[in-house]
């Protein structure tokens, strides 16, 4: 812990801290271009020069390259250093174009700030400027190479940090060029971070291009709700329209970056089709009329059939406020327990996964970066939770071993061992890992009862093709110092998470640190689980609707059709309802069927609390008040000159306000803070984890290990899993992301393809599908044989797809 003096102020920093970081701790911002805390130092730009006055080093040195040492005396305003900085900036600015007014970086440009603060105000260079041709880098990033100052941040981020190779550097001297070898869409799903990381305007945000300046934006801290990780965001909005997400540093969750899905998903909030008026039987009505009619008709139904006749349907993307008020509505009125997902299979896995988590085995996303072995079972990070892949990349850069056990051909931006295991065999695979971990000598550590159970496990576990490999890995895990265990919650069956918990508990005894990490299906699935949502399944509810026991259904921010597989059955059941109330902020298949529709606010307008996949409570602050953007009310021309008291299109209210109205009969929003505390059992501060149960010493129940795969071992299984773009219901509304979404296709092992008579690139037309569905065949030998893999996508006829798959199976 060296102590050094910077600008006459002493500071003590950990060993290995660079001087530039030490100065930051004192609040002194030393100019920098190439240095970035996430990327480290390269000493390329030469603007962080400071004067070293006393101590081991003397003279002008780059503060990003020098480790802080005991007794150093640093002057950031040393005349020599200031002079050097001034001249370096002048050199960097030699070829910089004269285009700040039309550059989107203007207003939050590091180069602008540093140029002015560095004292370089007037160009002396009179010669011709070097120019570069730009490339089309796809719909997300705008390229303007003339502005480059050769700091190498982009190529370091793209290649070293993210592990993608298609953007890099060529040339020497002033001809250094950053780009792709051929123009084309960037492959990385983290490419949007280039716009954040570039200190000048070489890479700028394309969707928000020319929209506004940073100083005009209304900005607020928010949370990403497009996967369960809950990355921290800063939302920028202007003229009542959210136009930009930027990564907000969060040491526990996402670090400095976010993925492109989270960055470009905001379009749903300002899409022209967004429902902004209340509807009664499809006809526009005022909010008051709709709310009154809703409560009157619900009261009538309650009178007729009792409180059991009304069912509540919540959502995993709703804020904790909405979810907690739904739970309150149930407890106050005695209506049916709210159900938060129509995907019962996933709900069961989530339930068993979250019951496995406890106070000691839960780890945060950034902790994975420090793991030396990461085991992923049934998890596809790039598709389900992209930032997890970036964390794995960081772990792998530090020498970590990454192992994926999955029926899908999991791709990661880093080297990893992939073991293809059929979907039904995942539990068995984990059992083999446990056996491998315990095989040599650890049995002795178990008590008699546990030894018995272990024997049963050993006897009952079926043999699978990869068994030997898995046991070897299991054994290797016992030698790891910091193993992390990641388990998906959509593909595996409910037995897998407890087994992973068991594996972690076993390994825990021999390592420094280990933990479990479960990516969940929805942004607030953890919240739904806390509120008892895992106990209420959708299937019985649907059966009750079909049986006529449930007369009214209140659906809050959930498109059941995107979650429930059998579209026709669901449609028929909804048709039989006496009253279908839908509250949502986006148009969907179910909003069109609603008897009463109430428009809700998005996270940008309402804000809210969210629990991420590890149970961390995070707050999203409202950014805008709501209403149609001036861009829309003006039709692209100047804003209309009509003056009114309300905001056009400003009808929507937060969903929890409607629910509170149903619960209390008042339309004024009640104070939801006590409710939240009640829901979380204790007051949890923003950014803290909710209290999880303490670790249990019990051996988990593993009865179903030996059951083996259901049905024929040689049969086909259809796996519908999340893809990076196109699967998340809100992000799917973004048109720029739609451009990046690949054609809808099925991925199979070549063996399976041969059996079915398919070749790569075949187009299969699914019969009787509405809208007509065409599937492209892709072959991938890293997939498990017998698995038909399709991305989860909204708006496709899944019933027809399943029917066709069943038909294939029958043949």
């Amino acid at each position: 812990m060296p102590t050094l003096t910077i600008d006459n102020r002493p500071v003590t920093v950990p060993d290995g801290t660079k001087v530039i970081t030490a100065a930051e701790q004192l609040g002194i911002m030393i100019p920098r271009f190439c240095y970035h805390p996430a990327l480290g130092s390269v000493g390329a730009c030469r603007v962080c020069a400071v004067g070293f006055k006393e101590g081991p080093i003397k003279g002008v040195e780059m503060s990003c390259m020098v480790d802080a040492q005991e007794g150093m005396v640093v002057a950031t305003d040393d005349p020599d250093a200031v002079d050097l900085r001034k001249h370096v900036i002048e050199l960097l600015m030699l070829h910089h174009p004269h285009d700040c007014p039309v550059c989107d970086e203007g207003g939050h440009c590091l180069l602008q700030d540093m140029t002015i603060s560095g004292g370089h105000g007037r160009r002396r260079y009179a010669g011709a400027k070097r120019t570069h041709l730009d490339q089309d880098l796809g719909p997300l990033v705008q390229h303007e190479m003339n502005r480059c100052i050769q700091c190498y941040r982009c190529s370091r981020f793209y290649q070293q940090f993210c592990g993608y190779r298609d953007l890099g550097v060529t040339g020497i001297g002033t001809r250094v060029y950053f780009g792709r070898s051929e123009p084309g869409t960037l492959e990385s799903p983290f490419s949007g971070n280039l716009t954040d990381i570039c200190p000048t305007g070489v890479y700028t945000d394309k969707p928000s291009r020319f929209y506004g300046r940073r100083w005009d934006y209304e900005r607020a801290p928010s949370v990403c709700i497009h996967c369960s990780l809950g990355c921290s965001l800063t939302v920028s909005a202007r003229y009542r329209k959210a136009v930009r997400h930027e990564a907000r540093f969060n040491a526990q969750v996402n670090g400095h970056f976010i993925c492109d899905r989270g960055r470009y998903a905001y379009a749903y909030a300002s899409q022209p089709e967004r429902p902004r008026d209340a509807l009664i039987a499809g006809r526009p009505a005022t909010l008051a009329q709709a709310a009154t009619q809703m409560s009157e008709r619900l009261a009538a139904i309650e009178k007729g059939t009792g409180p059991d006749g009304i069912a509540l349907m919540g959502s995993a993307r709703s804020s904790l406020e909405t979810q907690a008020l739904l739970a309150r509505l149930h407890s106050e009125k005695g209506w049916r327990t709210p159900c938060f997902s129509a995907d019962d299979a996933a709900t069961r896995v989530v339930s068993s996964a979250l019951n496995t988590l406890n106070a000691t085995n839960t780890i945060a996303l950034t902790e994975i970066e420090g793991a030396d072995t990461v085991l992923l079972v049934g998890a596809d990070p790039i598709g389900e939770a992209p930032m997890l892949a970036l964390a794995l990349r960081q772990a792998q850069r530090d020498g970590s071993r990454i192992i994926t056990v999955d029926p899908r051909p999991v791709t990661l931006p880093c080297a990893h061992d992939h073991i293809a295991v059929s979907g039904d065999d995942l539990a068995t695979a984990v059992a083999h890992l446990i056996i491998g971990a315990l095989e040599p000598s650890r049995e002795i550590a178990l008590d008699a009862d546990q030894q018995d159970r272990f024997k049963t496990l050993k006897q009952e576990t079926r043999d699978i093709p990869a068994a030997a490999e898995l046991r070897a890995i299991g054994h290797a895990l016992t030698t790891a110092w910091r193993p992390a265990f990641v388990c998906g919650t959509t593909v595996p069956d409910p037995d897998v998470p407890p087994l992973m918990g068991l594996l972690q508990a076993l390994v825990q005894t021999s390592c420094m640190w280990s933990g479990l990490f479960f990516p969940l299906p929805g942004a607030n699935t953890f919240g739904a689980h806390c509120l008892g949502g895992s106990d209420a399944l959708f299937e019985p509810l649907l059966a009750a609707v079909e049986a006529g026991q449930v007369k009214a259904l209140v659906v809050v921010e959930n498109d059941l059709f995107s979650e429930y597989p059998d579209q026709q059955r669901l449609a028929a059941a909804l048709e039989s309802l006496e009253l279908l109330v839908v509250m949502d902020c986006v148009p969907s298949a179910i909003t069109a069927r609603a008897d009463i529709f109430l428009p809700t606010q998005t996270i940008y307008e309402a804000g809210g609390h969210y629990l991420n996949n590890e149970g961390r409570l995070q707050v999203a602050t409202p950014v805008i008040a709501g209403g149609l953007s001036i861009m829309d009310t003006g039709g692209g021309n100047h804003p209309p000159r009509e003056f009114r008291e309300d905001i056009p299109g400003g009808t929507p209210r937060p969903a929890w306000q409607y629910v509170a109205g149903l619960a209390t009969g008042e339309t004024d929003p009640p104070d939801v803070k006590p409710l939240l505390d009640e829901a979380l059992t204790a007051g949890v501060a923003d950014g803290e984890r909710v209290s999880l149960p303490s670790a249990s010493r019990e051996w988990p129940s593993i009865e179903r290990i030996g059951a083996g795969p259901e049905g024929d071992a040689g049969g086909l299984t259809l796996i519908e899993s999340a893809a990076t773009f196109g699967s998340e219901p809100l992000a799917a509304f973004s048109t720029v992301l739609a451009e990046l979404t690949p054609l809808f296709g099925v991925t199979v092992h070549s063996e399976t393809a041969q059996r079915l008579g398919w070749r790569a690139g075949d187009r299969i037309v699914i019969p009787d599908s509405a809208p007509a569905l065409e599937v492209v065949v892709t072959l991938d030998d890293r997939a498990a044989p017998g698995v038909l893999l399709v991305p989860r996508r909204i708006g496709i006829d899944r019933t027809a797809l399943r029917r066709y798959m069943a038909h294939l199976l029958a043949e």
């Binding site: 039309v102 120019t131 003339n146 060529t170 001297g173 100083w215 005009d216 000159r641």
Partner: protein, 195 residues
């Protein structure tokens, strides 16, 4: 009654000069003579609606949006004028116009608020926004003071007849590719291996 204020403060000021009667009389007469002389002078009042003074070319009044020498709109909607405006009377929206040019979708100045400080003109990097000596634009209806882009645009270059931002900017626009702006070298061939 009269007390020298210097004594109150403890500072010594020069004592007030004694005025003799003759001097006082002379002062009085001079005063009355002066006012009487003024009686015969032509009043200097300018009767505004009837008499209008020609203002100097650089005086600051109504704002215009000028065009560049090629006749295209100069404004690139960079938001600098709206940022610098101390009364926030300028609002605009930028869009991508023809050939990759950045331009204003709409541009509005509320002259009901404008204080004619000229900071917008000073901030404008493209010489688009300029103040003119035309000061007569009072309106009875307040909304008539709100000028849109169509009202602000003029068909000349204003005080800066030669400047064309896009000839210097270095961004590729329709008809003016990279390397063809003033003081620019042709684009680098990145595939060349020559040192």
């Amino acid at each position: 009654m009269t007390q020298d204020p210097s004594q109150l403060k403890g500072k010594s000021l020069p004592p007030p000069r004694e005025t003799s009667g003759a001097e006082a009389l002379k002062a009085l007469v001079t005063g009355f003579a002066t006012t009487l002389k003024h009686l015969g002078r032509r009043p200097i009042t300018e009767q505004y609606p009837e008499e209008k003074r020609e203002l100097p070319a650089r005086s600051r009044a109504r704002i215009i949006l000028t065009r560049d020498p090629d006749g295209a709109e100069r404004c690139v909607a960079c938001y600098l004028c709206s940022a610098v405006c101390p009364v926030s009377c300028i609002s605009m929206q930028s869009i991508e116009g023809q050939g990759g040019r950045r331009m204003a979708a709409w541009f509005r100045i509320n002259f009901g608020r404008c204080i004619y400080c000229g900071l917008c003109e000073e901030a404008c990097p493209t010489s688009a926004i300029q103040l003119t000596p035309d000061y007569e634009h009072c309106q009875r209806a307040i909304l008539k003071s709100v000028y849109e882009k169509e009202d602000l645009l003029v068909d000349h270059c204003g005080k800066d007849p030669d400047y064309n931002f896009y000839r210097h900017a270095g961004v590729a626009t329709e008809g003016l590719d990279k390397g063809r702006h003033e003081k620019e070298a042709p684009p680098v061939n990145v595939r060349s291996n020559m040192p």
